[in-house]
């Protein structure tokens, strides 16, 4: 039972951290619990669907279906998170002012809830499908149902606990910096997902490795440890990254950051520039 709980814990942890970041980033948004909850349910249903389609997915694309599917899910999540951050850069200032004046309780339509909810669904779908496959396989091997359910419950509880702890830790950040912090966390999360997507494409032979192992920092921080797993999900840490994974991390991080800065600077410039009201006539 302990063995299965550890496996479930690891997969649930990754999804739980993403849920925590999304919940923190949407703090103050009305009904965001329903949005995120809905995203979770959709993710779980999707996970079951993906798990039972594993055979079909694996045989697609000359046996590379799994890698392509995983990469596609990861890239979609990156796009959702990127869109959220870029949108916040464009509208964040207005929102902050409005939130301060009317008190917390901004309507859900104001934020790209759909984008973040999708990111949650994609994360749960990806990690959850492995959990479903594993538990199903164990059940087929004759493991006692009670032990499996107990192990799974333990794993979910453990992963959830870490997520909750991180959420309340984040709440301690002063409101002034809070959304900046969540913005950075989403940026780092997206960069990590981008690196993982590149890893799957490299595994499929679609992208070149550039270097199969750019560095080995497993002596410093192993991905098998809890700290290593947290680092992996939160900032995309890999103990033995390939060159293409590092490249993808930098590219994802840099692209989103540049877009965020460009858009917010653009808006600030337009606000600062005085509007020329002089009427234009035929003779001038």
């Amino acid at each position: 039972m302990l063995g299965s709980s550890i496996i479930v814990f690891r997969e649930v942890l990754e999804a739980a951290l993403i849920v925590t970041i999304v919940l923190a980033a949407t703090r103050g948004v009305r009904l965001r619990g329903f949005w995120v909850g809905g995203g979770l349910v959709a993710g779980i249903l999707g996970a079951v669907l993906v798990a039972f389609s594993t055979d079909a997915i694996s045989s697609m694309m000359e046996g590379l279906g799994q890698e392509i599917f995983n990469a596609a899910v990861l890239v979609a999540a990156v796009l959702m998170l990127a869109w959220h951050n870029i949108w916040m850069s464009a509208h964040g200032r207005e929102l902050a002012t409005r939130m301060k004046s009317i008190g917390l309780g901004v309507g859900a339509g104001e934020l790209p809830m759909f984008a973040l909810t999708s990111a949650v669904t994609l994360a749960v779908l990806r990690e959850g499908s492995e959990v479903v496959l594993f538990l199903n396989g164990m059940a087929m091997s004759g493991e006692s149902t009670a032990a499996l359910i107990g192990g799974a419950a333990l794993g979910v509880a453990g992963g959830g606990a870490v997520g909750v702890a991180m959420y309340f830790g984040l709440l301690r950040v002063p409101l002034r910096y809070f959304f900046q912090v969540t913005g950075w966390m989403i940026l780092l999360l997206a960069a990590g997902l981008g690196a993982s997507a590149a890893g799957f494409l490299e595994q499929a032979g679609v992208l070149p490795a550039l270097d199969p192992m750019l560095w080995d920092s497993s002596w410093l921080l192993s991905e098998r440890s809890l700290a290593g797993q947290l680092a992996h999900t939160l900032v995309g840490y890999q103990a033995r990254p390939s060159g293409i994974a590092v490249f993808a991390w930098i590219l994802t991080f840099g692209t989103i950051l540049v877009l965020m800065k460009t858009i917010s600077t653009g808006k600030a410039n337009r606000a600062a520039r005085p509007v020329d009201d002089t009427p234009v006539t035929e003779n001038s």
Binding site: G3, S58, Q66, Q203, A204, P212, R240, A245
Partner: protein, 109 residues
């Protein structure tokens, strides 16, 4: 100058074709939640095609931090994983779903 751009396009096209034909293939089998052979010796410095056949009815996840690979092999099915080029050394892998028994290593030399 038109000839050189054609040549460049041709060279790029050739580079884009994966060299799967020349990649040496090695086979791993999963049976009773164990990998066979548990120690696999492969040549270093070249891309390798690993063919993993799962003879068990339940799925297994072939995973290796050292090789940076993870792939689910459904029960009764076969999966291909490309690894390398590897530097000489030992690389451990495991079956995530059955870690007490599914352990192995690839030795590149």
């Amino acid at each position: 100058m038109r000839h050189s751009s054609l040549l460049l396009a041709g060279a790029l096209a050739i580079l884009a074709i994966p060299a799967a034909a020349d990649t040496p293939q090695f086979d791993l089998t999963i049976k009773d939640h164990r990998f066979e052979p548990e120690t696999l010796v492969v040549p270093a410095g070249t891309k390798i095609k690993l063919s993993i056949s799962n003879l068990d009815p339940t799925p297994e996840e072939f995973e290796s931090h050292e090789l940076n690979r993870e792939k689910i092999v459904p029960g009764g099915k076969m999966a291909i994983v490309f690894i390398g080029p590897l530097e000489a050394g030992e690389y451990r892998y495991y079956g995530e779903f059955n870690q007490d028994t599914a352990q192995g290593r690839i030795v590149a030399e």
